[in-house]
């Protein structure tokens, strides 16, 4: 029983999920109108393009380094959570151990850069591939586990990785590794003062993960993953290769999470096991997607947009003094969003769309105006 509850059980097992994103798809099925399907996709692309341009222009207005820092972090967590969402949201395999992939990305690219002088761009790819391989190796035994047993297994593996890194002296042990400073260069992804290049890199990263999710959402894999999430046995009986679906989702998810790790290492130019492999990080990667809307295209970005600036601002205003006020605000915020909007923040938009889809609009698909 419990094992099936965790991935978020939806009322309709066979029909697409009755969530914000699923609701659209359900209606599309009723319409069976390919024209409206294509239009919807174009609209999503247009919104993404506009958002990207708007964020790209943002640093022209915001010169403050601290605020630019928040923009970078927000974009990074949006991208990380988007990666997590591929496995956790679409495929329904709730991992709370994604920090291990993040840590692999951070350590592989950093070690290659520090010891072999390899550019982080290549290190990033190598780290990503390595993380994907680790995800496949772990997935092989793990995907037999269900629900909480799976989730705890992911936590346990990430914690094991953390302990190993803490005790591995070549990789800096508990002290971590400081990336030596060099002149500003795109090749080394190193900029001493300038935050702007990081903003654009993070933006590109977030856009990339969004695009991948966008492309997959309506592909065969996307439908397979959602079928696996809703009811693995039913999906299997209909010919979905459940195990391979999970493996593919895990590898893709791990690859992008590791890229995020490499980027983070280059961004802060110092890594230690606790900051790139800790349990808190695993939760932080999952949190935006959960708060924004698990298994939705916009959820992770929306969740990160609300969560990260709030966290950073409360931390800088109330934190530091050690009086715990920042923790209280952060905790209450998470609790309130989780309780008030269990479907995630994207459901706020879904609701208005539903309200507009009056009976007349339902009868006439053309009348359904853009939200």
């Amino acid at each position: 029983m419990a094992s099936q509850e965790l991935p978020g059980r939806d009322s309709s097992a066979v029909a697409p999920r009755a969530e914000a994103g699923g609701r659209e798809r359900e209606r599309i099925d009723h319409d069976a109108s390919l024209g409206s399907f294509a239009r919807r996709r174009h609209r999503k692309l247009a919104v993404a393009a506009l958002t990207t341009v708007a964020i790209a222009l943002l640093p022209l207005v915001i010169h403050d380094v601290y605020l630019q820092n928040i923009i970078v972090l927000t974009l990074m967590y949006a991208a990380l959570s988007q990666s997590w969402n591929i496995l956790g949201g679409y495929c329904g395999q709730i991992s709370l151990g994604h920090a291990i992939y993040f840590g692999i990305g951070a350590y592989v690219s950093t070690l290659l850069f520090v010891h072999a002088g390899l550019t982080p761009w290549l290190g990033m790819l190598i780290g990503g591939v390595f993380a994907a391989l680790v995800a496949l190796a772990l997935g092989y035994p793990f995907f037999r586990l269900r629900g909480h047993y799976f989730t705890i297994a992911t936590i346990v593996v990430a914690e094991t990785g953390l302990l190993l890194m803490l005790n591995w002296d070549f990789a800096g042990g508990a002290q971590g590794i400081q990336i030596p400073y060099g002149p500003d260069s795109w090749a080394h992804l190193q900029f001493a003062r300038d935050k702007l290049p990081y903003v654009y890199f993070a933006l590109g990263f977030a856009l990339l993960t969004w695009l991948v999710t966008f492309l997959i959402e309506d592909s065969r894999w996307g439908y397979w993953w959602r079928a696996v999430k809703d009811n693995a046995e039913a999906a299997e009986s209909l010919g979905v290769v459940v195990f391979r679906s999970k493996m593919a989702a895990a590898a893709l998810s791990a690859f992008f999470t590791a890229i995020g790790g490499s980027f983070y290492a280059a961004f802060v130019s110092y890594i230690d096991p606790d900051s790139v492999m800790g349990f808190q990080l695993s939760l932080l990667i999952a949190l935006p997607a959960v708060l924004g809307g698990i298994g939705t295209l916009w959820g992770p970005a929306l969740g990160a947009l609300v969560l990260i600036p709030l966290t950073e601002l409360t931390r800088s205003y109330f934190g530091g003094s050690g009086n715990g006020l920042d923790l209280i605000i952060y905790g209450v915020l998470i609790m309130v969003i989780a309780l008030a909007r269990p479907e995630g923040l994207t459901s706020l938009f879904g609701r208005t769309r539903k309200a507009r889809a009056t009976p007349q609009a339902r009868a006439n698909p053309e009348a359904r105006a853009n939200p």
């Binding site: 029983m1 965790l6 586990l145 346990v156 302990l163 708060l291 715990g324 923790l327 998470i334 989780a338």
Partner: protein
Amino acid sequence: MGLIYALIAAGLSLIFGLMDVVNFAHGEFLMLAMYATFGIFAATALDPVLATPIVVGAMFVLGAFVYLAVIRYAMRAKANIGMVQVFATFGLGITIRGLAQHFFTPDYRSIQTSWLAGHTLDLAGIFLPVPQLFGAVLSCLSFVALFFVIRRTDFGRALEATREDAGAVALVGIDKNRVFALGWGLGAALVGIAGSVMAIFFYIHPDVGSSFALIAYVTVALGGFGSIFGALAAGLLVGLVEAISATVLSPSMKAIGIYAVYLVVVFMRPRGLFGNL
């Protein structure tokens, strides 16, 4: 140590197994219980051993309150119920930790003078520290009491029945919220016992809970969700494995042994040692 783990895990297992809710604030409950013991000790100089019943009572009230104030609403969610519960309790845990930091400051505290502290018992050449021994005995007693409550009382049966089918028990006049609130209270009270014992021989600070919480989740899963007996067995196993791997590997890597045992067990028995969920 194993019995203490078992006790912490039993509280978690009770909440999880009987109510299908993972309490990610469990470590914070433990931390609060330790602070409560310390607070009573600091304010009234009452010995921690005598303070235990007061702490347990307070934790019971806290657990019931948390259920009524937060968890009741989390269980009402229609979509993503698992994640909502995880993050509602996770948020609660952070809030409690923040409150503890705010009111108790992040300083480390400890109880130096207790009747038991510093004494060791010489049992045919094996030296046993008395506080740990006291904890072990108390844990055993708690387990006996817990089995009795779950198996032999109307409340225990109501708890299991409510988990099986909340709608059906409503028909026979059992108030679901009341039963679950009592269940949460009981789960928190068990952590209260563990906390008040541990306050004697551990440093107390706002983050103390998180280090035990993870081990507690692993213990519950190892024993199998929903099985109190599993939690007891797994707790003993975890305590033993920890002691062995601390000497075989190194003290800083001792948790790896526990994790490895968990992985091996769930690969062979995907529902833990005694799980039935």
